[in-house]
C-alpha cells in the first residue's frame, strides 16, 4: 500500500545540486528517517516525494506507479511541517476536517466522527473548538499530527516535526510517534538533522550529505559499521575520535603515538598509506593504574586529562597526548569515577575497537568487530 521507490532522483536549483542521483527503496509500513546536516538535501528529497518540488531528473514510484510529475493533491500522502502549518483562522476541528473535505467516500457525519476518533487517539478532544493560536507548541504539534492521521494516507511525510519542541517534550513525542506509526502501520518518511531522533525512531535510516546518499541501513548497523568517515562522525555523541596518520610496518603511526594493528585490520587496510583511525569514545578505556608505577602495554598510552564534562551517569573526558600534541582523544568514563583535570592517566585502545578509513576518500576500510550480526547496506561505490 505504501511502497516508495526513488531512482536516480536529482534536483537542481539553478547551479546548485540539492539532491544528486539518489536511489532509495522504502518498504511498505517502514519508518525511514532521512538524516544529515542542514543543507544536505534531505528536505528537498522529502518535498520531491510530496510533490512540492519537481525533480530535475529521475523517477519517483509509489507501489510501482510513476508519480514523478503528479501534483501533491493526487499522491495520497499527508505531511507534517516543521512549523505545523495549521490554518490560523480555523478551529482545530476545521483544520483536521479540511483534508477530509476532498475525500469523496465520506458523509459529513462520518467526517465529523473520523475527526473525533483521531482526536481521541491523540488525546486532544477538548482542543477541537479552539484556534491554533490558543494552543501551546506541543498541542499544535499534536493537531498537526492529527490532521495528517485523519486522512488515512498511504504515506506520512514528516519534515522535522519535533524540532520546535523543548527537549523533554521531544523525548516523549519521539516515543509516541513511534507507537503511533507502529499501530497505524503507515509508511513514514521522517526528515531530521538530529541523529538521536534518527537512531531511536527509525526502522532504517538514510544518511545524506551534500545531496548524496551516504549509507542506508538499520541504525545500529550504521553506528557500528559506517560506510565512510562522514557517517562515522555524524552518528554518535560525543563524536568518534578522529586520528590522522599513516600505516607503516603493520602499525598506525601518528605524530604523538603508534598503534599496532592486528592481522584482521591489516588484511582490510591492504596497501593504503594515509588513513584515519576512528575510535568511539566509549571504546577508549581509562585504566586505574598509576602511570608512574607500571610500564605501558602494547596499546596503552600515557595521557593528560584536559577537561572533564560530568554528565551524571558518565563523564566525557578529553585527553591530550602532550600539551602541544596535535592529537587528542575523547573518552567516556563511568560517572562514579573520580577523574581530575590535569591528572596523568593510562589510556587503553582495545585492538578490536579500531575503525580505519581511507584518508583520501573517507571510505571505511575496516570497522570494529561487534558481537551482533552487522549486515549493513554498504554502498558499492565510494561516495565521498
Amino acid at each position: 500500500m505504501g511502497e516508495i521507490n526513488l531512482s536516480n532522483l536529482t534536483k537542481r536549483f539553478g547551479d546548485v545540486v540539492a539532491v544528486n542521483d539518489l536511489d532509495l527503496e522504502i518498504e511498505d509500513g517502514e519508518f525511514l528517517v532521512l538524516v544529515g546536516p542542514s543543507g544536505c538535501g534531505k528536505s528537498t528529497t522529502l518535498r520531491c516525494v510530496a510533490g512540492l518540488e519537481t525533480p530535475s531528473s529521475g523517477q519517483i514510484r509509489f507501489d510501482e506507479t510513476d508519480v514523478t510529475y503528479r501534483v501533491p493533491q493526487n499522491r495520497d500522502v499527508a505531511m507534517v511541517f516543521q512549523d505545523y502549518a495549521l490554518y490560523p483562522h480555523m478551529t482545530v476541528r476545521e483544520n483536521m476536517k479540511f483534508g477530509l473535505e476532498e475525500e469523496p467516500d465520506y458523509t459529513d457525519e462520518e467526517r465529523e466522527e473520523r475527526v473525533e476518533s483521531v482526536a481521541d487517539l491523540l488525546d486532544i478532544p477538548d482542543l477541537l473548538d479552539r484556534k491554533p493560536g490558543e494552543l501551546s507548541g506541543g498541542q499544535q504539534q499534536r493537531v498537526a499530527l492529527g490532521r495528517a492521521i485523519v486522512r488515512d494516507p498511504s504515506v506520512f511525510l514528516m519534515d522535522e516535526p519535533l524540532s520546535n519542541l523543548d527537549a523533554k517534550l521531544r523525548a516523549t513525542m519521539r516515543m509516541e510517534l513511534q507507537h503511533l506509526q507502529e499501530d497505524l502501520g503507515v509508511t513514514t518518511v521522517y526528515v531530521t538533522h538530529d541523529q538521536t531522533e534518527a537512531m531511536t525512531m527509525s526502522d532504517r535510516m538514510a544518511v545524506m550529505n551534500d545531496g548524496e546518499l551516504q549509507q542506508v541501513g538499520e541504525p545500529l548497523d550504521l553506528y557500528h559499521a559506517p560506510a565512510n568517515l562522514f557517517v562515522a562522525e555524524f552518528l554518535g555523541e560525543p563524536n568518534m575520535n578522529h586520528l590522522n596518520g599513516t600505516v607503516d610496518d603493520g602499525r598506525f603511526v601518528a605524530d604523538s603515538f603508534t598503534y599496532p594493528f592486528d592481522d584482521s585490520v591489516l588484511d582490510d587496510v591492504e596497501d593504503a598509506d594515509d588513513v584515519v583511525l576512528g575510535v568511539r569514545p566509549e571504546s577508549v578505556e581509562i585504566l586505574d593504574d598509576d602511570p608512574e608505577a607500571v610500564s605501558l602495554g602494547d596499546r596503552e598510552f600515557e595521557m593528560t586529562v584536559d577537561v572533564v564534562e560530568p554528565m551524571g551517569n558518565e563523564h566525557v573526558v578529553h585527553l591530550d597526548f602532550a600539551a602541544d600534541a596535535s592529537e587528542s582523544l575523547t573518552a567516556i568514563a563511568d560517572g562514579m569515577r573520580r577523574i581530575e583535570e590535569g591528572e596523568s592517566v593510562i589510556v587503553h585502545l582495545p585492538h578490536d575497537a579500531a575503525h580505519v578509513f581511507d584518508a583520501r576518500t573517507g571510505v571505511a576500510l575496516h570497522n570494529r568487530r561487534v558481537s551482533f550480526d552487522g549486515s549493513s547496506d554498504q554502498l558499492d561505490e565510494p561516495r565521498v
Binding site: 501533491p72 493533491q73 502549518a85 476532498e102
Partner: protein, 308 residues
C-alpha cells in the same frame, strides 16, 4: 486581574511624572491637535452660518442667534443627493471588482507557480506607473468610437427604476476604474501574500485542495486585514476621482454627474463665493468616505501593522 495598582496612587504618580519635558510634550501635542482640527471645525461652523454671519463673525466661532441656518445644508443636499448616489453607484461596484480581481491576480502571481509569471507581473508593475492624464484622450476615443459600451447598455439601464439613459455612461466608467485600480492593488496584495508562510499553501495542496479552494478557504481569510486596507484605499480613490468622470461624463449638468463633477461649481458664482453652501456641500460629500474609514478602522490598523 491579579495585579492591580491602587487607584488612589494614580493621581500622585501622574503628578510626580509631570516634569517640564512632559509638559512641553503635551503642549506640542495640543498644538498639533489644534493645527489639524481647526480647519475641520471652521468648515463645520461655516456650514451652518448664514451669509451675514459668515462675513461678520470669526470663522471658527459657532453660529448663534440669527446666524444659525440649515438653508446651506438643505441647498447642498438638494443639489448633491443625485450626484452622491451616482458616485456610490460607480464607486462601490468598481471597488468590489477591483479588490476581487486584484486579490485573485496577486494569488496567481504569488502563490501559484507557472511559466512566464515574471513577465506578467512586470506588466502589472508597468500599469502602476501609467499616469491618468496620458490616457484620457485614448480612453474617450475607446469608449465613444471603438467600443460604445455606454450606448449599448443604455436601454437596459434606462429600464431600471430611478436611472435614465444618461446613467449608462457609469458602466464604462466602472470598468475603467477597475482596470486602473487592479495593478496597484495587485502589488499591495502580493507584498502581503509574500509574508504568509508558504507551508500553509503547501499543506493545503497536500490535503487535496484545488488552486481555487486554497484561494477562497485559505488565502482570502488570511488576507482579511489587507482587504480592509485596499477597500478603503480604492473606495476613496475612485470616489474622489475627477479626471475620468470629467472625460466620460462630460459636464456637471448631466443626470449621471458624480459628486466630484458637481462640487466645484456649487456655491460659486460671478457674484462671489457662498462659503456656507460650499462648506455644507464639502462635508456632505465627505460623509461616505468617513463611514468607510470608521467601519474598517480596526481591520485597517491591523493591516497596516502587519504590513510594516
Amino acid at each position: 486581574m491579579s495585579v492591580s495598582t491602587p487607584t488612589t496612587d494614580d493621581l500622585a504618580d501622574w503628578y510626580t511624572d509631570l516634569t517640564w519635558t512632559r509638559a512641553a510634550l503635551y503642549a506640542l501635542v495640543l498644538l498639533g491637535v489644534v493645527f489639524f482640527l481647526a480647519p475641520l471645525e471652521t468648515g463645520l461652523m461655516t456650514a451652518f452660518k448664514s451669509n451675514a454671519a459668515v462675513i461678520r463673525t470669526l470663522p471658527f466661532l459657532p453660529p448663534f442667534g440669527d446666524g444659525f441656518t440649515l438653508d446651506n445644508a438643505q441647498f447642498a443636499w438638494n443639489h448633491l443627493s443625485g450626484p452622491l448616489l451616482n458616485s456610490l453607484v460607480m464607486s462601490i461596484p468598481a471597488t468590489l471588482f477591483t479588490v476581487l480581481f486584484a486579490s485573485m491576480a496577486a494569488y496567481g502571481l504569488t502563490m501559484v507557480d507557472w511559466r512566464g509569471q515574471l513577465a506578467v507581473l512586470s506588466l502589472f508593475l508597468v500599469g502602476v506607473f501609467v499616469p491618468y492624464q496620458a490616457v484620457l484622450v485614448p480612453l474617450a476615443r475607446f469608449w465613444n468610437n471603438i467600443l460604445p459600451l455606454g450606448k449599448m447598455v443604455a436601454p437596459y439601464v434606462a429600464a431600471l427604476p430611478y436611472f435614465t439613459e444618461n446613467h449608462a455612461v457609469l458602466v464604462p466608467l466602472i470598468i475603467t476604474h477597475v482596470a486602473y485600480g487592479i495593478p496597484i492593488i495587485t502589488v499591495l496584495f502580493r507584498s502581503y501574500m509574500q509574508t504568509l508562510p508558504t507551508s500553509l499553501v503547501e499543506s493545503a495542496m497536500i490535503d487535496g485542495a484545488s488552486v481555487t479552494k486554497i484561494y477562497y478557504r485559505i488565502i482570502v481569510p488570511l488576507c482579511k486585514p489587507m482587504f480592509a486596507v485596499v477597500f478603503i484605499y480604492q473606495f476613496t480613490q475612485i470616489y474622489n476621482e475627477f479626471l475620468f468622470s470629467l472625460t466620460l461624463i462630460g459636464n456637471a449638468s448631466s443626470s449621471a454627474a458624480t459628486v466630484t463633477l458637481v462640487l466645484p461649481s456649487l456655491g460659486a458664482s460671478v457674484s462671489g463665493m457662498d462659503f456656507g453652501v460650499r462648506m455644507s456641500a464639502s462635508l456632505l460629500a465627505a460623509i461616505p468616505t468617513l463611514i468607510i474609514y470608521v467601519a474598517f478602522a480596526e481591520q485597517f490598523a491591523k493591516g497596516l501593522a502587519t504590513e510594516a
